[in-house]
């Protein structure tokens, strides 16, 4: 049985003016994958992320989410996204954890469920700015989870957090991937840390993704076999 594709990039090319950023990127991320997209700072990871999220359109090539071309894709409830600096810019505003989750169009019980899934339910009525960096991150993960997405994308999720918080974060990611069969894409410049945590690494280098690393097929096949047995 073929595993459905969640993200599919074919010959994706993008640049600003004469400056080429991405040149013929191919990549497949399949349902249930736990993938790290790595590359040095400035290599084009954020650009690729924006293309995957439909905020930028490639000059050449095709992008598909859940098998649907990105321009025709409207089912954004299937995609959860946590930007790199989520929450950093709102410390001057008294917003509660519950209000953060309710930025999504959801019922009260869904809010509780999402917060419980990241062990943050007891902080529901706290102000976001009263929480630690790691706790704030969990709140934003809960907001992304509240729509019950099939794909969760996190941009540089462990930048500036201590080792203990990192460990707890990756424990949570493993739980979400395993228990909820959530497809995870973590974008990071830190190959060393992320390679120990994710199931496979896709490396962006010299404006493209080398053929050897552009899919997690082998690992996924292994998982499927294990699942079937």
């Amino acid at each position: 049985m073929t595993t459905p594709s969640v993200i599919s990039l074919r010959n994706v090319t993008f640049g600003y003016g004469d400056e080429s950023i991405l040149d013929g990127v191919n990549c497949d991320i399949l349902e249930g994958d736990f993938v790290g997209l790595v590359g040095h700072n400035g290599v084009g990871k954020s650009t690729l992320l924006k293309i995957i999220l439909g905020a930028l359109h490639p000059q050449k090539g095709t992008v598909k989410l859940f098998g649907i071309p990105i321009k025709q894709f409207h089912d954004w409830d299937k995609v959860g996204y946590i930007p790199q600096k989520a929450g950093f810019s709102v410390s001057h505003v008294p917003i509660t954890v519950e209000e953060v989750i309710k930025m999504e169009d959801v019922e009260d019980n869904a809010v509780d469920e999402a917060l419980a899934s990241v062990d943050m339910l007891i902080f529901k009525n706290k102000l976001l700015r009263e929480l630690s960096g790691g706790q704030q991150q969990r709140v934003f993960i809960a907001r992304a989870l509240v729509k019950k997405p099939k794909l969760l994308i996190l941009d540089e999720p462990t930048v500036g957090v201590d080792v203990r918080t990192q460990e707890k974060f990756y424990e949570l990611m493993q739980k979400l991937n395993h228990n909820y069969h959530l497809t995870l894409l973590l974008v990071s410049h830190d190959l060393h840390t992320i390679s120990h945590q994710v199931h496979c690494v896709i490396q962006l280098d010299k404006k493209t993704i080398p053929y050897e690393t552009n899919t997690c097929n082998i690992i996924h096949a292994h998982h499927t076999d294990a699942f079937n047995h």
Binding site: G54, D77, H92, P94, T96, M103, E104, L127, F140
Partner: protein, 268 residues
């Protein structure tokens, strides 16, 4: 109490209160989102553009409120276009729009050379000269602004706090930003006659930051900021009448006093 009831014997004071109360409600509504977006100074920038609208209105003999709305809305649209497409920071755009609006207004005033007294009322506000036609325009726009904010509260909130996530959640961020900027422009136009072009930003922002000091939650901060603004307008108008002070400036000073008081009380 009779100090207040005495005031309502005069038609101009009744109109002044109505205009002040409407502005006290919509100002902080919009201002709350401006504070989140760290765009508190945009009201000041647009108010300078509004002066150009006033100058043209006086020049061609049209109600200046109408020409002001026209100019501020167009400018607000252009600001958002530049901000989202040209990689220019909002702060830099404001630094250009603010003196630009004032410069154009000054040129027009110089060309007309005849309505210096009138323009003064728009610079510093002249709530006592609010006409019945002004009230209807202010009320209509107030309902439109408040209604749109209420209906699309979640979209405005999500986009103001976290544009990237809002986009990935399927919210048409660009459209929301453009609509929001137009609402800011309308609010500035409406508020100008009440507190004056140079003082508008204060009534939109100070009650908001005062409320944010004392409450736990964004939605409740909006409600409390409206209450602070209403109190500022009410006390400001009564004080200005009996002390023979300019209304707009008194309203702004009362709102600053409330901010100072809450700061002290919070620390005690």
């Amino acid at each position: 109490m009779h100090l207040i009831t005495d005031l309502f014997q005069y038609g101009f004071m009744v109109r002044a209160f109505w205009a002040g109360l409407i502005v006290a409600i919509i100002g902080p509504l919009i201002g709350s989102f401006l504070v989140v977006r760290k765009l508190s100074l945009i009201a000041d920038a647009l108010s300078h553009v509004a002066l150009t609208g006033v100058a043209i209105g006086l020049l061609i003999g049209v109600n200046p409120l109408v020409t002001t709305i026209f100019f501020t809305v167009i400018t607000a649209y252009i600001i958002e276009e530049i901000r989202s497409n040209e990689h220019v920071s909002a702060e830099s755009i404001l630094a250009m729009i603010l003196p630009g609006g004032l410069a154009l207004a000054l040129i027009l005033i110089s060309i007309a050379n005849g309505f210096n007294a009138n323009i003064f009322t728009y610079l510093f506000g002249s709530i006592a000269t609010v006409t019945q036609q002004d009230i209807w325009i202010i009320l209509s726009l107030g309902i439109v602004i408040g209604g749109i904010l209420l209906i699309f509260y979640r979209q405005f909130m999500y986009t103001s706090f976290d544009e990237e996530s809002a986009r990935s959640s399927g919210i048409p961020v660009q459209l929301v930003n453009h609509v929001f900027m137009i609402l800011v422009a309308l609010t500035v136009s409406v508020a100008m006659k009440v507190v004056g072009a140079l003082l508008i930003g204060a009534l939109m922002i100070i009650p908001v930051i005062t409320a944010m000091q004392v409450v736990k939650g964004f939605k409740i901060s909006i409600v409390v900021s409206v209450l602070f603004a209403l109190l500022s307008v009410l006390v400001g108008l009564v004080t200005s009448y009996y002390a023979n002070l300019p209304a707009g400036a008194t309203i702004v000073m009362i709102s600053i006093l409330l901010f100072a008081l809450t700061s002290v009380i919070r620390r005690v």
